[in-house]
Symmetry: C2
Subunit: 277 residues, 2 copies
Amino acid sequence: MISGRTHIIAHLGVPTESFKAPMIYNPYFEERGIDAVVMPMGCEAEDYPAFLRLVFRLRNIAGALITMPHKVCTVGLLDESSTTVKVCGACNAVRRDAEGRLVGDMFDGEGFVRGVLRKGRRIEGASALVVGSGGVGSAIAASLANAGARRLGLFDTRAESAEKLANRLRTHYPELKVVTDGKDPKGYDIVVNATPLGMNDGDPLPADVNRIDPSTFVGEVVMKQEETPFLAAARARGCMIQVGTDMLFEQIPAYLEFFGFPSTTPEELRRLAKIRY
Amino acid sequence: MISGRTHIIAHLGVPTESFKAPMIYNPYFEERGIDAVVMPMGCEAEDYPAFLRLVFRLRNIAGALITMPHKVCTVGLLDESSTTVKVCGACNAVRRDAEGRLVGDMFDGEGFVRGVLRKGRRIEGASALVVGSGGVGSAIAASLANAGARRLGLFDTRAESAEKLANRLRTHYPELKVVTDGKDPKGYDIVVNATPLGMNDGDPLPADVNRIDPSTFVGEVVMKQEETPFLAAARARGCMIQVGTDMLFEQIPAYLEFFGFPSTTPEELRRLAKIRY
């Protein structure tokens, strides 16, 4: 029940029609009696810089979820950025600190990391191959680095994307070994598909599953089907796997904590969500 | 259930804590399956002119309800104003037309007018005494003029307020007879208290009830109690009366029509509202 005491989480992007966050956060807020609401706001790119500043001047703003096409632009509008934002060159969560400064973070990759850890696998000291260096691949690589990975392999069909991401990672994580020598998954502790391959029937697999060790943890960002052909093949080899929606529901608690709300488990969020995958 | 397809009615004012509109509109929208939500936004006065423009650039904005302290300031930000807005010098409803222009109106007084008409009394050709020439008194006077009243008596303890309102009415309604010769209710078809008298125990009555004819229709803006001492005294004389909350619930359909939503009756809105008076 929205009232004059309700806090707003502005969900900023355009178009808004496909937004899922309201159907995940709002049922949780209602269940827990948290007086807050995620409200989609279809802000045009040209209006966004001014609107972001002003929406954060509202007395009842609690934060903002940022999505396309504003994630990159947001970085230049922040007063303070996390290392993950700097590595990704993108931001999808903004809050106002006690001094009114805008603080940004990026939790897409944190969802992947939390899912890996919850399934009992280590990231600290591990090696990981991230296939795809676009927005979500950058976020996953940045969060793996932040979580203590020792070695990252990056691959993108646009080699320059992978190289640029590698250089940003090396700048912010000098101890991290970053390689861009292809997408052979052999020998990695973790392999993740961060490309859209698997969205459409007949897509090739993002990497050669026959070269993945059974001890490797294999993850996926594609949410279109619960288990993509890539994951199915990895599971058939004996690999532990993580589906795309795990990454989605694992990242919500990170946002809740960032905004200062009581947090919860991905399981509770999944149970309460008014969407099904 | 808020989604990416939900339309926003921004409820702009500060502080927001006492806002009632969300608890009236939102249950109605939910009941009718209208995908819209009234969302309080605590906008500071200094940010308001820029924020109003930008919030109306959102793709999913359906309109704005304007409250204190922005009602007067809004007049200067509109591309098109109703006569009522011009008479009142205040605006509490804004929508965007097909060309993106901001169109403003003011429906506080329309609620009073609709209530009078619904109770079977005429306003066209009638005389009315409006006691109090502040925001709500101005709105009632403007709406009575718009509805065809022939003669208005205005009174305010600050005589200048009544005189200024009288002059604005004369400018926009040259046929209307406007007098500012005191608050004797004798001979008026309609008498309305538009002062805060009745909010507190022991307040004097706003006008001399002994001078009100039994055939006079007597209305009230004070909502603190269902029947104020003023209304009780008028009813005891045999007058037909209108309570303050009638004016509130009668004006909501006017807003719904202005924003382009399916309209309804005050009775349905009152039944569904999550507030009780």
